[in-house]
Subunit: 254 residues, 2 copies
DNA sequence: ATAATTCAACATAAATTATGTGATTTTGTT
DNA sequence: AACAAAATCACATAATTTATGTTGAATTAT
């Protein structure tokens, strides 16, 4: 196991266990304590954990848990499957919009498979991955940078969107309740809504565990989306409600 | 001499001589022909030269201004000094605009010294450096990504600028002739002009060697700038012309 | 006070990257 | 078509960078 794999594993473990001892890690990976020290130092530097005497923790509640870098590591498999399902909807030559969020970042990274494409996004991770790639036209939306969401938001973003049109918008959401999608942040909602308005068709991406929990701000009615992609079957009530409304949900398989 | 230095030297030589033989390069640097082949392949890949049987040439015409990755290495010392002089004009709390280009990237990297600041830019290098830093508000302008300039340009960029105001805009230029600044690319000119229009005061940054050579597109009259910063005294004629017009040029010292 | 832990400095190992060599293929010229 | 120069390929080696380990001094918790 190489350095990056080890660090990934440390994070995986930490997300489960909330805390871990330094000796335990050195033991488990068969490396010296010094190496673990260095791993933890770098991970702390990246804002992924909090180093403490004798080990490290993930700080619950605070900015740590909600940080996008951690989210990108969570449920990596589900995200990969959903990205594959989303890619099926894309044809070379299209113009697609990608919103903020780690799910969108995973999808964005795989867009070159469908080149040539025009990609419009306010997601900093997607911009970094795509810039300079051949046969990809990248249009960044601009806006005020948000470290929390690793993206660009605000009037600049929305004004830019009001002047653009795309074939397909991929919108991700952390909360679906009843027949509506929610989001905890107003600025993100505004950007997402502007994208839906600027796209011919919109696709909602949502982890199956996020069904049945609302958040502060209403994002959109599920009926506004032309497709809904998730990674596994949601709870019975959610499923029934959605089926009852005549909406189709795509469950991404292996 | 290391690989990058050698490649830089190849480019320097080529800019003078327009063409060079492969054997000659292998000889001059004391490396094998294969190594020169690889250098030329990579430089061609980066769009910096045209490889030909037995050697390489610089494409005649406009495109020869070097790639931004190499440009960042050129005249690093002059850039650092000019950045220092530019920083002197910034007060904490200001809103500043930074345009594209490697000179601007060097300045952008040092902006945290003057935090808190609001920074508005279409320069991808500056966005990368500044995002997520505390006490820095970063507003990216968006636009279509240009690999050649490592920045964002086009209507999206200009529309965003039409809605924003800054205290100070830093504009860099690769060419000054007479009492006017020039640039080889129209899209970059549009963005720079929009910045000048959106800023209370504008500062021109220009390497002293760039005086006396025009480029395809007119960027602005020197009189439009509130300050002009360079790294060393320009040629006598240029200096006389500028002094004659009553314009002040700041020469950045050590 | 002391035992555990962290940190810094250096040494070594592992991996990556750059370069060279010679065989093989391509290209231009006659 | 035949030839020589040049380009390319595949692999070996060298140089450089990065990762890890070890030791001992400094720090910290109890």
């Amino acid at each position: 196991m190489k350095r990056d794999g080890r660090r990934q594993a440390i994070m995986d473990f930490l997300i489960e266990a909330r805390a871990v001892g330094l000796d335990e890690l050195a033991d488990r990976f068969g490396v010296s304590k010094m190496t673990i020290h260095r791993d933890l130092d770098d991970l702390e530097q990246a804002g992924l954990l909090r180093k403490m005497r004798g080990g490290a923790t993930i700080e619950t509640g605070t900015r740590f848990e909600s940080d996008f870098r951690i989210r990108e590591l969570q449920d990596a498999d589900a995200k990969a499957r959903m990205a594959t399902a989303a890619l099926d909807l894309i044809e070379p030559g299209m113009t697609v919009m990608i919103n903020d969020g780690s799910m969108a970042a995973v999808l964005g990274a795989r867009l070159p498979e469908k080149a040539p494409l025009t990609v419009i996004t306010n997601n900093a991770a997607v911009i970094d991955r795509l810039k300079g790639l051949p046969r990809m036209t990248l249009i960044a939306l601009g806006g005020e940078y948000s470290a929390k969401f690793n993206g660009f938001f605000g009037v600049v973003t929305e004004t830019a969107l009001s002047r653009l049109r795309a074939d397909l918008a991929f919108i991700s959401t952390p909360a679906v309740a009843g027949l509506q999608a929610f989001h905890m942040d107003d600025a993100a909602v505004q950007a997402k809504r502007a994208m839906i308005g600027a796209a011919g068709r919109s696709v909602l991406l949502v982890n199956h565990r996020r069904f049945g929990r609302p958040a502060l701000h209403l994002l959109a009615d599920l009926a506004e989306f032309d497709a809904i992609i998730t990674d596994a079957s949601p709870s019975v009530e959610s499923r029934d409600a959605i089926a009852g409304a005549g909406l189709q949900v795509t469950i991404a398989k292996d």
